[in-house]
């Protein structure tokens, strides 16, 4: 982990929120993406709000701010403000548990209710290493993905480190295309956080 990560210059900063049922491996996905670590037990995620990771896409420095649900998905009590100003959504389910796949609908409904209309969505089927226990077919998942017009459906394994980075890069690429084609003006400096530098993200055009 680069301690200076946060002060590195970047071209774009995107906020990505992670959603999906409890136990599908959201926190593992974040951990794997952030630091390449795989942690079996998830008892101690206390204090983790979001993580920042820089990556380079098409020669641009992209900073991704990935938000975890903080356990509020357990009783489906995610705050509406969690979704505010998200640029991208990663909706994850567990390939070995059909119920988590069926709940993708509920999560996507939340996205359509609480996110901006043009938010980019990515559908992730996690735990693809457990091929024996697989409960949903790839075709089914891809179909659901395209129904909700996700940018892609990707099968991942946080444990084996399969497609984790690729998923986020995919989303970052789409977001970059979206935002670099637009002719953004510097916003008037009238919205602000109260002193923290990690306020919800605005992409800036350089």
């Amino acid at each position: 982990m680069n301690p200076n990560n946060d002060t590195e210059p970047y071209d774009y900063l995107f906020k990505i929120v992670l959603i999906g049922d409890a136990g599908v491996g959201k926190t593992c996905i974040v951990q794997r993406f952030k630091s390449g670590v795989w942690v079996e037990s998830q008892a101690s995620t206390i204090g983790v709000d979001f993580c920042m990771k820089s990556c380079e896409v098409n020669g641009k420095k992209i900073k991704l701010q990935v938000w975890d649900t903080a356990g509020q998905e357990r009783f489906r009590t995610i705050t509406q403000s969690y979704y505010r100003s998200a640029n991208g959504v990663v909706c994850a389910f567990d390939l070995t548990r059909q119920s988590t796949f069926l709940n993708v609908e509920k999560w996507m409904n939340d996205v359509s209710k609480f996110c901006e209309e043009n938010v980019s969505k990515l559908l992730i089927g996690n735990k693809c290493d457990l091929t024996e226990e697989r409960a949903v077919s790839r075709e089914e998942c891809a179909k659901v993905g395209s129904y909700y017009s996700v940018v892609d459906y990707i099968e991942t394994s946080a444990k084996d480190n399969t497609n984790i980075e690729a998923s986020f890069i995919k989303l970052a690429t789409v977001l970059l295309e979206k935002h670099s084609s637009s002719n953004l003006q510097q916003e008037p400096n009238t919205v602000f956080g109260l002193g923290s530098r990690t306020k919800p993200v605005k992409s800036t055009c350089c």
Binding site: M1, N5, D6, Q31, V37, V39, S41, Q42, A43, S44, T45, I46, G47, V48, D49, F50, C51, M52, A70, G71, Q72, R74, F75, R76, T77, T79, Q80, S81, Y82, R84, S85, A86, N87, S112, K113, E116, E117, N118, V119, S120, K178, H179, S181, S182, N183, L184, E187, P188, T190, V191, F192, G193, L194, G195, S196, R197, T198, K199, K202, S203
Partner: protein
């Protein structure tokens, strides 16, 4: 949804209003095991913000809101012999006299239905009343057959019209070429581009209406044949509700003093990273005998620029505000007036009636009878906040409404391990018969959950712990077609309408798309007043209560103005397109019947800021955890190291000052140096400044005194 909860917690909190959420965050933050439940399907309780459809529903359903269709719980099996059971109040809604009205006509058939989506609500034209008077036994089903849809428990109240397709139209209208790919969720950028388009649209709109009038005069009969020429004065009902989701209407509108406790806590705890804010950009009032809103000069720059006060008044006002900012150092100035009304003190300082009005109503926000000491403290509090975020602003308001605040603290609580469960009703409290201490609660699924401490919001008090209801605040919310005082850029306004005749004092907050409270071209006006009626059971016509405020601020309702089309009504003033009225109740707490380890958080009241709620949360925290820090700084993500065993917090942040805190302007606008003063001055008032040089000298003298 009926998933079983863990059986034991340190603290259980019921209700997700602001003080409960702050407390929940503070407790989780220091490692307490917290369960936070709410019977509602949304966060925030009496502090929540809703979209306009949900608000309509809320106004129509306050009574049936809490219908309980869960299975009866067998209490005998859950309560042991040495325990007693305190039943929770069945009615948990603390709104009364609720009404909402839409004054817009339905779209006639002749309008070409391009791009128009039929909302799944049916309404009568002109005026739709949805009323549910707690005070009067009105059958809601008969008075309001329209717009009311019974909601199922599983639906999400904050956004339950899932089948309402809205994304394929007017939202896209806002996206101009070149910015159509604008970053999602970037309201500021959206606003900056929309601002232009909005102004353009307004102009076009005005032109259209005047054309239409000509049209009306010359050829009435051909209108039906020429639908494209008939531009109605106001948007149609359907058009209005198209962007229903973009409204964020507060149950308890408030603004934050820039140096109030809430702002300090948000910074200190890092909870501010979940939120964004706007300045309240102007303060308006109506002088007695007038019927026009005027800007109140607050900062020194304002005072210099103001056209409403004379040069002499400016000088005296400046001197007075400088005194107030540092009044403790000059006891001789107010000693004689300590126990006398603030107004007497103001008179003794030779302030004109107009300036007295500004200070009492808009700066100190007290009444004429308030004591001098209280008035001085209130004035100082205002002045301290002035200039912290923007030179002439003293207040902030959260983007998307006040409802974001409890959610942000709830998030903090969840991040630090708090368990959250909405749509879960607690049916009663279990207390020890001998010690009277609470041992736990029983929820509507029949689960008994133990706890050491119990925190309730007022509306969840068991009946026997209550001592009567009273009306706390009377509220009106209006959606209008323009600002109450249009200006070049969109403003966020705080307005005081002083009492006139039989009418009470009103506090008004107006904001719009800039704060994401409404879609473009609409404004939201929140009006509050203290209920005048003593008899709690009397039926109050809230429309009557707010009549005077409405007359001052608005031209009329859209329905009225459509009829009076040819009348040259006050074009400057906005029309009311939608309105809602309600009372917010509060109940007294009967402390004798309340177990010792139960803490009650009060409902939001008439107060403008959040200090009361913050104090309550802090005090309760100090009782539950006497030796712990209240809301220490949460670590930044990069401070958390994780290894193969999982996350570990590197430090809990207590030791480190937030390095990036915004620079702060000392102790408020009136404590600045003369240099700052010169920078602030506008070139076009240079002549005035030359005349006013004495004032500048005086201000710097004041500073010198205190240095």
């Amino acid at each position: 949804m009926d998933e079983v909860l863990p059986e034991e917690f340190d603290v259980i909190l019921i209700g997700t209003g602001l003080p409960e959420s702050v407390l929940s965050g503070a407790l989780s933050r220091i490692g307490k095991n917290v369960l936070h439940v709410d019977s509602n399907e949304y966060y925030g309780g009496s502090w929540a913000s809703f979209n306009i459809k949900t608000f309509d529903k809320l106004m129509s359903e306050t009574q049936m809101h809490q219908e309980d269709n869960s299975n009866p719980v067998n209490l005998e099996a859950l309560i042991s012999e040495d325990e007693e059971f305190l039943l929770m109040s069945a009615s948990q809604q603390n709104l009364s006299n609720c009404q909402s009205y839409c004054y817009l006509s339905k779209q006639p058939d002749w309008v070409v239905a391009t791009n128009v989506v039929e909302p799944n609500v049916v309404a009568e034209p002109d005026e739709v009343e949805i009323s549910d008077d707690k005070d009067s036994p009105v059958d809601v089903a008969t008075t309001a057959p329209t717009m009311v849809q019974k909601h199922s428990d599983t639906e999400d109240l904050s956004c339950r019209d899932v089948d309402f397709e809205e994304r394929n139209n007017s939202d896209n209208d806002n996206e101009k070429p070149g910015v159509s790919d604008k970053q999602s969720g970037d309201p500021a950028k959206e606003k900056s581009t929309d601002n232009d388009s909005r102004n353009g649209q307004v102009d076009a709109f005005n032109n259209a209406t005047s054309e239409e009038k000509l049209e009306n005069a010359s050829d009435q009969s051909s209108q039906a044949d020429l639908p494209h020429k008939e531009t109605p004065l106001f948007p149609f009902y359907e058009k209005f509700y198209e962007n229903w989701r973009r409204f964020n209407l507060d149950l308890s509108p408030k603004v934050m003093f820039s140096r109030g406790q809430l702002v300090e806590l948000l910074i200190q705890s890092n909870v501010c990273r979940y939120l964004e804010f706007r300045n309240v950009t102007r303060t308006l009032t109506v002088l007695s005998g007038e019927n026009r809103l005027q800007p109140v000069p607050c900062s020194r720059a304002d005072v210099f620029k103001s056209k409403f006060v004379t040069v002499v008044e400016k000088r005296i006002l400046m001197r007075f505000l400088t005194l107030c900012a540092n009044f403790e150092q000059h006891p001789q100035e107010y000693e004689a007036y300590k126990d006398r009304p603030f107004q007497d003190f103001l008179q003794s300082k030779h302030l004109s009636t107009k300036v007295q009005h500004f200070i009492i109503h808009s700066i100190a926000m007290v009444s004429e009878q308030t004591s001098t000491m209280e008035g001085l403290h209130a004035t100082q509090k205002f002045l301290k906040s002035l200039g912290r975020y923007g030179s002439s602003h003293a207040f902030l308001c959260p983007m998307y409404g006040v409802g974001e605040l409890p959610q942000a603290f709830s998030r903090l609580s969840a991040v630090f391990g708090g368990t959250f469960c909405l749509r879960r009703r607690v049916i009663g409290i279990v207390a020890d018969k001998t010690s009277r201490a609470v041992k736990g609660v029983i929820d509507s699924t029949g689960q008994k959950i133990k706890c050491q401490h119990l925190v309730l919001d007022e509306s969840h008090l068991p009946d026997i712990c209550r001592s009567g209801f009273k009306r706390e605040v009377s509220r009106a919310i209006y959606v209008t077609d323009k600002s109450v005082s249009p200006s070049e850029t969109e403003e966020v306004s705080l307005i005081t309408l002083p009492p006139v005749g039989n009418f009470p004092l009103y506090r008004v907050i107006e904001a719009g798309p800039l704060c994401c409270l409404s879609p473009n071209n609409y404004y939201v006006v929140h009006a509050l007043t203290k209920p005048s009626c003593v008899d709690e059971n009397a039926i109050v016509d809230l429309k009557e209560t707010f009549h005077s405020a409405e007359k001052t601020m608005f031209a009329g309702t859209a329905a009225e103005l459509e009829i009076a089309n040819n009348n040259e009504s006050d074009k400057q003033k906005p029309a009311v397109l939608w309105a809602a009225y309600f009372n917010m109740m509060s109940c007294g707490v009967n402390n004798d019947s309340l177990p010792g380890n139960v803490y009650v958080m009060s409902s939001p009241g008439f107060e403008l800021g959040f200090d009361k709620a913050m104090n309550e949360a802090r005090r309760t925290f100090e009782i539950i955890c006497p030796d712990e820090e209240f809301l220490p700084r949460a670590p930044e993500p990069e401070e958390i190291v994780f290894d193969d065993e999982g996350y570990k917090s590197e430090n809990n942040g207590n030791s480190r000052e937030n390095p990036n805190e915004q620079p702060e302007a000392g102790n408020g606008d009136y404590m600045e140096t003369e240099e700052d003063l010169q920078e602030e001055e506008e070139p076009d008032v240079q002549g005035l400044i030359d005349q006013e040089q004495g004032v500048g000298d005086h201000v710097s003298d004041g500073n010198g005194d205190n240095a």
